[in-house]
Symmetry: C2
Subunit: 321 residues, 2 copies
């Protein structure tokens, strides 16, 4: 019994480790696209992690960086964008959706990270609403959302900007009645505090990465919006609990059996990201995390099965418990 | 201009190397399933290679081996089958479709060959008709079929058995008006002779693997139904032409620039299988094949793009040429 039924879909148990599709299934399909989310759900991985930013006209859209990554963005001529990268918050939705985000440029460092990702055309940045609508269709009936809000380091300390992002996101969730299928997720603990005030009926997930673990090429850093962990004065899981969190999402290089046990003792769920290599998956399972966030859901399914583990029961039944 | 418009979809050109999804996209999705074919086509790879066998009640179905592979076949209890493998030609369609072919057993040699393949449930062996019907939908409008007929070594020399397989397959194609989107494909040159007689309006593709290249674990061998290449008395491409073929599909370990040039000089198209590693893809491109048959269509797309090559134009336009 819990206040937040969706947390059951992120909770591990003996024999059960949860899988969460990272940006859909970035290893296989273009990230943060409806095409990728559909693939992941059809594969049987119904919990999706993804990233939300606001457009210039205040529409929540599903994309990772504050600037469109040229290596993943093509113009009307079919060619990857060049020069200074466009800022999502300065683009109206219509312009944003004129770009094609179906294919990676393999000549870039970012493109080389995902050499098996298919190359599609006429794929658009989805709105948050488009993705949430999938959950209302029969094929999306079991979908759960680990909804990350991205704080722009340039404006993260302007309260109105944070309020506007949270408000628009929460409105999109509430309009569709998906409060019990969504977890609010961020690196920005100030933003998560706003979530606690605006949406106390939804659980919160605190993302962390310790400064020693380098940022990934091609991706916005979280450092400038995260708390100064050296100054917390307590272990991170305890700080998450004191900040009102229900879930903790540490980077996989920060995970040990000891910190997971500590978090569990405090009543937190632990999902770790982004776990793409087989050896790391085994190590995370051995550390007894509740869930694994991965770009390769098929690979993770197979690792679990080979250990006699599963990632899912009937999610609808669990949510009803 | 050609007698067989579908061959344009398998023909290379400067800057263009064709991609063919092997059993759909076996590296990513369960092989020879509608789910896998749909994924491949959505990925932008519209030419599909797959395998057809007849059930006990003479329904052409899409599956590779004459016996259902226990490592890929689960019963009503959700567990992989055990013991002697069931023979497709001894099962009525209804019984065949009671099994779930959505997931590999990773503890087997065959399962270990495809560690990223997603694990799905409630996936059935499709009928040939089910697959062909996809080509009549808007999303399948560009689909092309490299339709392999599997000769059972136990009965391959019984003419009625071969005739029945070819007749049922050709009937399924003709019923849907897909004669100009299908290539008939086999290791069994006797069967291909029957195709030439029953379906002279469809092109034929001759599969070969030289005996020195070992058979793949978990898959029926083609050796006993293929010709004795040592006794052909001429190069293989010439023998394909004399047997009335338009396409030659050699195993990738048998491909050299010289044999491809020889085949092209004779007017044959060359598609090679099953090319899954990046280095092998490069070698096949360097050998100037027309097409690459792969379990990893996304990986092959990326290899082509990094060399400034593409795999597809507007297939509908090509077919109309």
């Amino acid at each position: 019994m819990t206040q937040f039924p969706q947390l059951n879909g992120f909770r591990g148990a003996p024999g059960l480790v949860r899988l969460v599709g990272h940006r859909g299934a970035r290893g296989v399909m273009p990230e943060n696209t409806l095409e990728g989310f559909e693939f992941t759900v059809k594969s049987g991985v119904v919990a999706l992690e993804f990233d939300v930013v606001l457009t210039q006209d205040a529409v929540p859209v599903v994309t990772h960086n504050h600037h469109l990554l040229n290596a993943a963005t093509r113009g009307a001529d079919g060619k990857w964008l060049q020069g200074a990268e466009l800022k999502v918050s300065e683009l109206p939705l219509a312009q944003l959706q004129s770009y094609d985000v179906g294919g990676l440029d393999g000549r870039t460092v970012y493109g080389q990270r995902f050499p098996d990702q298919v190359f599609m055309s006429n794929v658009r940045v989805p709105t948050l609403g488009d993705l949430l609508d999938m959950a209302l269709t029969p094929q999306g009936a079991d979908m759960l959302f680990l909804l990350e809000m991205k704080s722009d380091p340039e404006t993260a300390h302007t309260p109105e900007v944070t309020e506007r992002l949270v408000s628009e996101v929460v409105k999109a969730v509430r309009t569709r009645g998906l409060e019990q299928r969504t977890v609010l997720h961020s690196f920005d603990w100030n933003l998560l505090e706003v979530c606690g005030r605006i949406a106390p009926d939804m659980p919160r997930s605190f993302l962390t990465i310790m400064p020693k673990n380098a940022d990934d090429p091609g991706e916005d850093s979280s450092k400038s919006v995260a708390p100064d962990f050296a100054k917390l004065g307590m272990p991170v899981p305890q700080a998450v609990v004191e900040a009102g969190g229900q879930m903790w999402c540490p980077h996989y290089l920060d995970v040990t059996p000891e910190v997971v046990a500590q978090a569990h003792a405090l009543g937190l769920l632990v999902s770790t990201w982004t776990v793409n290599e087989v050896d790391d998956m085994h190590r995370m399972i051995d550390a007894a995390v509740d869930g694994i966030v991965t770009d390769y859901p098929g690979r993770a399914q197979r690792v679990l099965l080979e250990r006699g583990l599963v990632w899912n029961e009937d999610v609808a039944r669990m949510v009803a418990e």
